[in-house]
């Protein structure tokens, strides 16, 4: 097999295994043996990990005959939160996503959706209304609301800058109720 085909195969395998670990993260975390009991039994029939390791499963339970997914779901990770409210944007480097909840902005890993940082609201802004915008260097996030503009410093999670808006100055600020921030 030539070098290119080998590296293609390596990438496919790496991606497949990554999905396996993300999908069964909780199972693997609490039990080493359940990797062979549950995770292998339930992984998609077309997955690489199943092809290579299914014969090693250990199960005294009835075999799962029907209902195993055929392939990895399109969405590899899901984060549930009733509070999600507003858009979700990619960081300029493509490794993170930022998403609004009613009371905060969450930065998550784009692959695993693991929570990395929560950017909290302050007295300046009590509710988030406008869209978010990343700074071009990816270090800060800006957001506007009815009453203020706020810029967070992502690594520290603190407010880097904030200005309070005086009432009735919409014309200087943006147009209409949506307060689009535009791009950085």
């Amino acid at each position: 097999m030539d070098q290119v085909a080998k590296s293609e195969q390596l990438l496919d395998t790496a991606k497949d295994y990554f999905r396996f670990v993300i999908k069964f993260f909780e199972v693997i975390k609490v039990s080493a043996t359940h990797i062979y009991h549950s995770a292998l039994e339930l992984c998609p029939t077309s997955s690489i990990i199943r092809k290579l390791y299914y014969h090693r499963r250990i199960t005294r339970l009835p075999k799962v005959v029907i209902g195993t997914p055929e392939s990895w779901a399109r969405n590899i990770a899901i984060s549930h939160n009733d509070d999600y409210n507003g858009p979700c944007i990619w960081s300029p480097c493509g490794r993170f996503v930022a998403v609004q909840t009613r009371r905060a902005v969450e930065i998550r890993n784009q692959l695993t959706l693991e929570l990395i940082t929560i950017l909290q609201l302050t007295k300046l802004i009590r509710d988030l209304a406008g869209p978010l915008a990343y700074s071009p260097d990816g270090r800060s996030i800006a957001c506007a609301s009815d009453t203020a503009i706020i810029i967070w410093d992502i690594q520290t999670g603190g407010v880097a800058k904030g200005i309070k808006r005086r009432a009735h100055t919409t014309s200087h600020w943006g147009q209409g109720p949506k307060y689009p921030l535009g791009t950085w």
Binding site: E8, Q9, L10, L11, Y17, A32, R60, R139
Partner: protein
């Protein structure tokens, strides 16, 4: 009375359990790590200044001790911590260190400090416990929230006055243009007026900009170690050399040694770097050589090649030539094969993610353990070696790894360690170790058990997973991401690992409790494979 005592005992245990759930870096306190304080009578100017800062409470809340590598920051931080501990004023300390993964992670600083504060102050503990119970994940939040909730709020409710020491802030991995910890401190320090912070670090640009943040400027006292009058430093270094060398002379029964000219020469070569004096003493104090012969070697070193007309030469040059001559004295073989083994051994010591004992290094780089011990013994004046060969080996000071991995400073190609090549060797070592050592159900866990149900899980892990295998399982991806050049050998080793040993690896990772780190590793593997596919010639 008994039930009450029982209640207290139960309460105490419960408190400890909750505290222990908080993640923290181990061995980061000042009392760990076997550092020595300053020799009595040296560094008096800076110590006096710090003392007056400690005593007066109107002073600025932050003291920043700033100095180049090898000017003695950590030794001073150690001395200061010892004093204020003796006075009962030390609340907590964190000595950052690149040698350890957790001690170089910014996100461990505040939880570790909080843990120590909780042990010291009763009221702080109760405040922290109620916080941890209601919000167990607080140690994973952003730095700002961490400091606010783990340090500021409990300190305010406990209303204590104390001092917190953070040493070598530059050794933490930080990608911010202005140090992340400093910008957090800047925002929050006003809310805890009774607490002071003593911080040391190299004058790196991000730390300098951090202290230039407007809010911090006014609340920081700065002391620049490398700007102290050179005469004062020289006399301190002379005092140190005289003291250490006369002790050495007494131990080795040498008379009238060293001569004043020799000490003078060493002082002028040190050019203000304490680490030069420390390294020299360590080099002279060898059990296999006569100190006077070794001193001759150093004295005979050609004077530094500084441009003519410069009276004071570049301190880095003298340190570099000292390190080079220590290496050249230690290894005098002609055989070039020996040098490649030496590079592997020393390269592993300076580039491992966490330090390992010599036997584990030998396995990882595929050398005979006796040979590795020999090389380490030969280079011992540059390393922190214990009598006990089971103890992990580190370099004696971080200026040494800086030197040996930099081709423009370490000009003797027999010793220069190229980081990319060394990481390649280490990732190969990790993969080989895992491919050989891992097998299905290595821990003989009963079917259908949860890890928490296996009572002796830790003993099983310790008995069946060697230190080398454990290191390989946890750190292979750290080395993988640093590789460069021809990686075809890595690709074939990875293939065996992925096709045969992957699930066995997951088992071990699950039993050790490091699945979170494993996902990071796999993510790195995906990114690395993408790179390799795009640039197959790499």
């Amino acid at each position: 009375m008994l039930p009450f005592k029982l209640y207290l005992l139960a309460h105490h245990t419960a408190v400890l359990l909750v505290l222990n759930t908080c993640r923290r870096a181990r061995g980061a306190e000042y009392s760990h790590g076997g550092r020595r304080g300053c020799l009595k009578g040296t560094r008096e100017t800076v110590l006096n200044e710090i003392e007056s800062w400690v005593k007066e409470f109107n002073h600025s809340p932050i003291f920043w001790l700033n100095g180049l590598a090898g000017t003695g920051k950590s030794t001073i931080a150690q001395t200061v911590s010892e004093w204020i501990f003796a006075d009962g004023q030390l609340g907590a300390s964190f000595f950052c260190s690149r040698d350890f993964e957790d001690r170089s992670d910014l996100h461990f600083i505040f939880p570790t400090l909080a843990f120590q504060l909780a042990h010291k102050f009763h009221k702080f503990r109760s405040a922290l416990i109620s916080l941890l119970l209601s919000n167990p994940d607080v140690a994973h939040e952003s730095l700002y929230r961490q400091m606010e909730r783990l340090i500021v709020e409990p300190l305010r409710s406990a209303d204590v006055s104390t001092i917190i020491v953070i040493d070598a802030l530059d050794e933490c991995k930080d990608e911010e243009p202005s140090s992340a910890i400093l910008s957090v401190l800047a925002r929050l320090v006003k809310r805890i007026p009774k607490v002071k912070f003593f911080i040391t670090g190299r004058p790196e640009s991000r730390i300098k900009t951090g202290f230039r943040l407007p809010i911090l400027m006014n609340s920081t006292s700065v002391f620049v170690l490398h700007d102290v009058n050179p005469l004062l430093i020289n006399s301190d270094i002379r005092l140190f050399l005289k003291h250490e060398l006369s002790e050495l002379a007494a131990r080795r029964r040498l008379e009238r040694w060293p001569s004043d000219e020799q000490v003078n020469l060493l002082c002028s070569r040190a050019a203000g770097l304490f680490i030069y004096a420390v390294a020299t003493v360590k080099f002279l104090d060898s059990n296999t050589h006569l100190p006077e012969h070794r001193l001759d070697v150093i004295v005979k070193l050609p004077e530094c090649t500084a441009p003519e007309g410069k009276t004071r030469f570049n301190p880095k040059m003298t340190l570099d030539s000292l390190y080079t001559s220590i290496l050249q004295t230690a290894f005098r073989e002609e055989d070039s094969e020996v040098y490649s083994k030496v590079r592997s051994t020393i390269g592993a010591v300076v580039l491992l993610v966490n330090p390992l004992p010599s036997s584990a290094i030998a396995k990882l780089v595929g050398l005979d353990p006796r040979e590795v011990i020999l090389f380490l013994m030969l280079a011992q004046s540059l390393l922190a070696l214990c009598e006990d060969s089971d103890q992990p080996v580190k370099s004696f000071h971080k200026s040494f790894p800086d030197f040996i991995t930099n081709s423009s400073r370490c000009t003797d190609t027999r010793f220069y360690i190229s980081p990319n090549e060394m990481h390649l060797e280490l990732v190969m070592g990790c993969l080989r170790t895992m491919n050989d050592g891992l097998e299905q159900n290595l821990l003989s866990l009963p079917d259908y058990t949860l890890n928490s149900e296996v009572e002796d899980l830790e003993t099983r892990v310790d008995d069946r997973i060697s230190i080398t295998l454990r290191y390989a399982c946890l750190s292979w991806h750290n080395h993988l991401t640093e590789t460069d050049g021809d990686v075809s050998s890595v690709v074939s080793c990875l293939r065996i690992f992925l096709e045969e040993k992957f699930l066995a690896w997951l088992e071990v990772v699950s039993a050790i409790g490091a699945v979170g780190g494993a996902t990071v590793g796999l993510e790195r593997l995906v990114l690395w494979s993408q790179e390799v596919r795009l640039h197959p010639s790499l």
